[in-house]
Amino acid sequence: MKKPKTLLLIAIALCAAASFFTGGINPYYYDILITIGINIILAVSLNLVTGYTGQFSLGHAGFMAVGAYSSAWMTLTFGFVLGTSLPATGGVYLIALFGGGLAAAAAGLLVGVPSLRLRGDYLAIVTLGFSEIIKGVIQNAEPLGAQRGLGGMVQHTNFFWTYAVVALAIYGILTLVHSTYGSGFLAVRDDEIAAEAMGINTTKYKVLAFVIGAFLAGVAGGLYAHFKQFIHPEGFNFLKSVDIVVMVILGGMGSTAGVCLAAVILTILPEFLRTVSDYTWLPGPVRDLAENRMILYSLLLIILMLTRPQGLFGKMAFIRGKKS
């Protein structure tokens, strides 16, 4: 990456150019396209926490929920403050996306601070617990629709905004971890004790990773809320977190390109499996199995861990560490 900034500009320009042609796309494919973008943002952001910094988090959907709900609340409440024209409501939408990201980042700070004292398995459970608490709070918050879900957002999310954020997220994370400052993340992952002995503030890096990861997940949540126009607490449950974790693990922890690829594959795979279940010439059980993608995911996880724990495209600094 010689001129990352130029690449970023080119990528955003490409998004803008491509967005002129998305009008004619079949709505089903358009939906998949946007979902892919949102999943890439989620996977890349979790990769910063899990892949680069080595902190296993099972609560990424919780941050997404915070972003989705706070941005949706903002556009629902302040959507027409600046007027009803498209630029006015669009401006509010962009501010709300950012605000949703900030809210999620605040939640990330809240999770990151206790994470200082925990590692591995405990951290996984605590992040899972946090996302359950977030879900519980939303389920009890009347202004957020409680258990009925929240709807009525204007569909502002389009191809351009989604992939512009994708480009920014990938650019931001790659430049961060490849900077001198960012090698602290890798140091924490490779050997926390050694990193600490070398004078690296491991706590700061861990919290920073959580906050940045949560911010991006929050923005992804905002994009999602303003694309689907309806959000429900159960949409951000444990299984959503697992979906994101599977993307990171399949792609290979610490490999941004691999994780992006895995996000694409794992978004298309269920749709593909759905068509497989329509092929009536296949035996019944095969079709049933194809419909239940989670069975395949779980087998994929187990087999991957047994045979290639570094993921399909992982570089494997991760496993090189101490045994036990």
Partner: protein
Amino acid sequence: MIEFLQQLINGLSQGAIYALIALGYTMVFGVLRFINFAHGDIYMLGAFAGFYTAPKLLSLTGGGPSYGGAALVLVAAMALCAAAGVIIERLCYRPLRAQPRLTVLIAAIGVSLFLENGGQFFFGADPQAFPEIIADSAIELPASWGEFASLTLTIGQLIVIGSTIVLLAALRTIVKYTRTGMAMRALSLNPLAASLMGVNTDAVISFTFAIGSALAGAAGILTSIQQPSIDPLMGINAGLKAFVAAVLGGIGNIPGAALGGVIIGVLEALVVGYINPTYRDPLVFAVLILVLLFKPSGLLGKAEREKV
């Protein structure tokens, strides 16, 4: 006061279930230092093992609900779960024993997801009615107890609490007074030293999984006596709560797991009774986070230092 006692009774019988599951977490953590994420789903398997074996076993003892038949169902479910636990350890965890803990943890999450979704695939996703293996009814309390006579206490609750006490006593005997139990304790102190002293580590680990899974299977049956609606995802929530219980009591500590289970059960009943049922799950996780923040070693556990 009466209402408080009532919640206490309800909480105690639910807490007994959590305690049984928590023991499995804590024992596996004791010998292998990892969280068996799939443990809650073994509890689900126990309930389904009972669901499928109960009609056959009950017909052996005369057909209707009976204590003998229920005991047979309990034993069958425990045996099946023990086998499942041993097989899972053998296939998924043993090959990864030399790998970093994160790899094993991810594999365990994979096993858990597989059991949940495989369960939905094979058993059906809809809740099923667990057969009545014991005629459950409220016990008439003598009128001479005054206002306490208005308490509701069911036979099912008594059986749950009673069976839990028996199982805990049996576990304590095994761990304290048998050679295998001694080997388990040795392994949790120092695996390398234990193997040098001639402990067959693989066999002891298999045995630990068998015992822990059998207890979870028993919990599955005991739950179904009280709440006869079972589904393949019932293990997620119960498993997480039991894990919190194990951490609260001090993970790796057997009496701690039992104590933590009872505390979580009672706490939950009080929240449901006095605050708001929807806060039940968030509260349990809040307890977990508070424990990990302020006393990570749990109520009865010993702090462990990270060695370089």
